[in-house]
C-alpha cells in the first residue's frame, strides 16, 4: 500500500539561464563528465551499499538515504568501463526519476561549473555508441573535454538483456 510517496523538495537555487548549462562535474576513470545540477538531490560519499542478488550487473545495490531506499547504479558498469579497483573510494550522486531515487556511482565528484552553450561540440562520429547514447553533448573546458551525461537514458536499463 505504501507507494513511497514523494515530497517534491526544492532544489538548490541554481538554475539554467538561457545560454548556460550548470553541471556537477565528476570523473569516471580519466574521463571528466557532468550531470545537470538541477536533477541532483544529494551527493554522498562512503555509503554502505547492500548488494542485490540477481540484479542486472549495472545495479550496484541498495543504499539507505535518510530512510529512503535508493537504487545504486554503477556508472562504470553502465558505460562499460573497466571496474573500479577493489577498495578504491567512490561517491554517489542521488537523482530522482519517476518518484524513485537512484544513486549514480562515480569515482569522484568535483564541483559545480557553468558551461556556455556555444562551447558545445557535437559527438565525434567515432565515439562508441555506449557514450553517444548517453551523452547530451560535449563541452570544451580549459583543461579537457567534458561529457554531459543524459541521466534519464542512463537509468533506462534494458532488463531483458541483463536478466
Amino acid at each position: 500500500m505504501t507507494e513511497a510517496g514523494v515530497t517534491a523538495r526544492e532544489n538548490a537555487g541554481v538554475a539554467d539561464t538561457g545560454d548556460d548549462v550548470v553541471v556537477l562535474t565528476l570523473t569516471l576513470g580519466d574521463q571528466l563528465c557532468g550531470v545537470p545540477v538541477l536533477g541532483v538531490r544529494d551527493v554522498l560519499a562512503g555509503q554502505a551499499i547492500a548488494r542485490i542478488p540477481l540484479a542486472p550487473v549495472e545495479v550496484a545495490g541498495n543504499l539507505n538515504l535518510r530512510g529512503r531506499i535508493v537504487t545504486a547504479i554503477d556508472l562504470r558498469e553502465r558505460l562499460r568501463l573497466p571496474p573500479r579497483a577493489a577498495g578504491a573510494p567512490s561517491m554517489s550522486i542521488v537523482t530522482e526519476q519517476g518518484s524513485e531515487l537512484y544513486a549514480l556511482l562515480v569515482d569522484h565528484v568535483s564541483e559545480v561549473v557553468t558551461l556556455r552553450r556555444h562551447a558545445m561540440e557535437p559527438n565525434p562520429p567515432t565515439l562508441p555508441a555506449i557514450w553517444t547514447d548517453h551523452s547530451q553533448g560535449i563541452y570544451r573546458t580549459d583543461q579537457s573535454l567534458l561529457v554531459v551525461l543524459d541521466v534519464e537514458r542512463l537509468l533506462q536499463i534494458d532488463v531483458a538483456a541483463a536478466a
Binding site: T2, G5, P53, V59, N62, N64, R66, T71, V159
Partner: protein
Amino acid sequence: MDDLLAEFLTETNESLAELDLALVKLERAPDDQATLGLIFRLVHTIKGTCGFLGLPRLEHVAHAAENVLGRVRDRELAATPPVISAVLAALDRIKLIVAGLAAAGAEPGGDDSGVITALERVASGDAPEAAPALESETVESAAAEPQAAEAVMNVQSIRVAVDVLEELMTLVGELVLTRNQLLQISRAEGTSAFSAPLQRLSHITTDLQEGVMKTRMQPIGNAWNKLPRLVRDLAHETGKKIALDMHGQETELDRQVLELMRDPLTHMVRNSADHGLEGPEARRAAGKPELGRIRLNAYHEGGHIIIEVADDGRGLDAEKIREKVLSKGLATEAELAAMSEAQIRAFIFRPGFSTAAAVTAISGRGVGMDVVRSNIERIGGTVELASTLGAGTCFTIKIPLTLAIVSALIVRSRGERFAIPQISVLELVRVGGGAGAGTSMAIETIGHTPVLRLRDQLLPLVTLGDLLQLNETDAVSSNATVVVTAVGSGMLGIVVDDVYDTEEIVVKPVAPILRHVTMFSGNTILGDGSVIMILDPNGVARSAGISTSRSQRNEADASLKAERSGDGMSLLLFRAGGDGAPRAVPLGLVARLEDIGRDKIERTAGGFVTQYRGKLMPLISMDDAASASGATQPILVFAEGERCMGLMVDEIVDVVHDKLTMQLGSGSNGLLGTAVIAGQATDVLDTGYWLTRAWQDWFGGAVSAASRRQRLLVVEDSDFFRQMLVPTLAAAGYDVTAAGSGAEALRLRDGGLIVDAIVSDIEMPDMDGLEFARHVREGGAWAALPMIALTGRGAPADEVRGREAGFTDYCQKFERDGLLASLRHCLTEQVLA
C-alpha cells in the same frame, strides 16, 4: 436519519454515478463483458440492499433492471440502444426515489409500473417502441432531483484523502527507522548528553506511529453493524429462525482492508442465511434446534486477521454441486470423478455458479462467492471452506492486518540477510548438514534434488544461496535451517544458513529495474540502517520450477487435473530405462499413477501384462526388461476409451510446472527430444510411440505412421483448456500449435503458419470466436480451412450463429471423443473435396 440508511444513500449515489458511465460505455461496446459484469453487480447490490432496508419501490425497479441485465449478460439479449435506454430510465427513476429518500427519510410515494412494464417488455425481447415513451416519462421528474441529492451529504466526520494518510504513514515509517538508527548509535556510545532527549524522542515517535496507525485502523465491528438487521429481515422473509452471534468485533484492522471486506462479509452472511440454514421444520426433522445460528468470529493471528463465518445449517452437498458443475459444463464427469469432496465444494467460488435452485430476491444469481473470493484475494487474503453435510459450513478468511507494515523473519544466507514475511512461514526446522548429524533431521537427496522428510511428508527444498546465485563467501556452516513456507496450497522448504529473529518491517516497493526479479516482493530498512530484500515465497517457488497452484504433498494428487497457473504445463518427472536420467511426460496425458505388486505382473508371448480393473492391461517397459528391485512396480497408466496401457518406470520423481521447450531433437524412438525442465536436461517421452507399441491401432488408423501428421491450430484463451487440449490432440496424432487469442492466431497466419484445421473457443475476451471466424473467412491463407468451434454451451441458436460466422462444426468443450470425431470427419472431407 438511520445510520444504515445514510450509508446506503452514500453508497448508492456512488454506484449510480459509476453505473451511468458504465452503461454509456456498454452502449458503445456491447460485447464488453467486464463492463457488463460490473453493471450487473452494481445493480444487484443496490437491489439486494434495498430489500433489507425495506424499500419496496427501489427494490422493484432495481429487480426489473437486473432481469434485463441478466439476460444481456447471458447473451440472450443484445445491449442495443433501446435496451440501454430502458435501463438508464430505470436508473433515473432510482435516483429520483433515492433523492426523495434522502430528503424525507422514507421512500416517496409514486407509481413505477410504467418503468417496470417497459423493462419487462425489453426483457421479453420486444424492445424498440419501449424507449421513447420512457424518456418522456422521466424528463419531467428529473428537475426535482439535484437539490434533493445534496441533502444526502450530512457529514459527521472529516473525510481525509487516503493519499494524505499514506503520506503520513510513509513519513512515520521513515521516522521510526531513523529513531532506530539513533538508538543503535546511542547504545554503542554509552551515556551521553543526548541520551535523555533521545529517549523522549523515541517515546514520542512510538506514540506518533501508533496514532497514525490508529487513523487507519478500525474495529471490524464497523463492517458488521448492519448485519444483525440484515439477518433479522432475512429471517422474516424466509420464515427461518436465525440467531447471529458475533465475537471479536473489537478486532482492529486497516481501514482499507476493512472497506474491501465489507461486501464479501455481507454476501457470505446472506448466503449462510439463505442457503446454509434450513427452515424450522427441516431443522426439527434433522434433530437440531429450530433456531439456526450464524457465527461470526474475528481474531488476530500472527500479523493477520482470521474471520470465520460459520453456520450450523445443512452443509454443502457435494453431490448437488457435482450435478450443478456438470449441468453448467464447468468440468467433465471424468474430472469430477478424480476430485475430492473438498475440491468439488470449491466450485462454489467459480464465476457463474450458484446452488440456489430458484432465483430469489436474496441471492442465487451467480454473483456472490466468486466476487467474494476475488475481493479477498485482491488484498492478499485467502478464503477456505470446511463443510460437513448436515452439520454446517464454515468459511475461514485470512487477511493481512495492514498492507504496509508486516512482521518478517530475518534470515541469513551466505552472508546476506533477507526478510521472509511471517504470514507465509509455517515452521522452522534445524537440520544437521551432511554427515555426522546424529539426532537432528537431515536433508536427503533424490538424484540431485534435496528433500526433507518432515513428519510424513516429503518437503521439496530449495537452497536460497544457490537460487540467488550468491557466492560462497564464508565457510559453509555445518548446520542449516529450513524455513517451511506455505506456497499456494502446498509447502516449500527454503534452506538458509541462519535465522535471526522477527522484526516489524515497513514494506517498500522495489525499483522498477528490479521488478523482473520476481523472487522479491519488496525491500526494507532494518533497525541498524541496512537495506535488505523481502523474499516472496511464491516467487521463490516459481523460480525453483514448482507450481504454486497445487499441492505438492502427495504424489497421488498427480493424477488429478493440473490447474491453471500461468504459462507452461504440468509435467510428470520420472526415471525409467535403468539409466537414472530424468524423463518427462505432460501430466495431462497420464490417466493414473499406480503401484502394482510385482507378483501381479505376468509374462505372455506379447510381453508383460497385468490384470487391471478386471481387464488385461499391456505393460511396456522402456528397456524391454522388467526392473527387478522392490516389491512393487510403479506404472504410468495411459487410457483412452476402453483401452489402457501401463508404462513401467523405475521411479516417479515429481510433478513440476514448466514451459516445455524442446531444445534437442531425439534420434531414438520413443523420445521426442530433450528439454530443460526444472533446470535439468530431461528427455521428453513420445507417448504416441509407446501407445502404438501396446496397441498397434491405438490411433484407430486416423493417422497411419507413414502419412504426414496433420497440423492443427488451437485458439483458446484459457490456459487451463489450452493445456488440456494440446496434449489431447497431440496424443491423437496431430501437430498442434496453440494461440491464446484470435488476434494472436491471425498474427500467426500473417506470419505464414500453415495448418490443416482450426479449433477455436467461442467465448474469448477482445475478439470472440465468431469474430475470429469471420476474420479467417474474409480471406488469406486459411480462408477455406475447416474450423471447429468449441463451446461450453450447446444451444441450437448458438450453433446457427457459429455456422453463419463460418465454423464448419460445433463441439462441446469437454467432449474429447466428439472433437476427435469431428476433426477426423472434417479433415477427411477436405481431402476428398
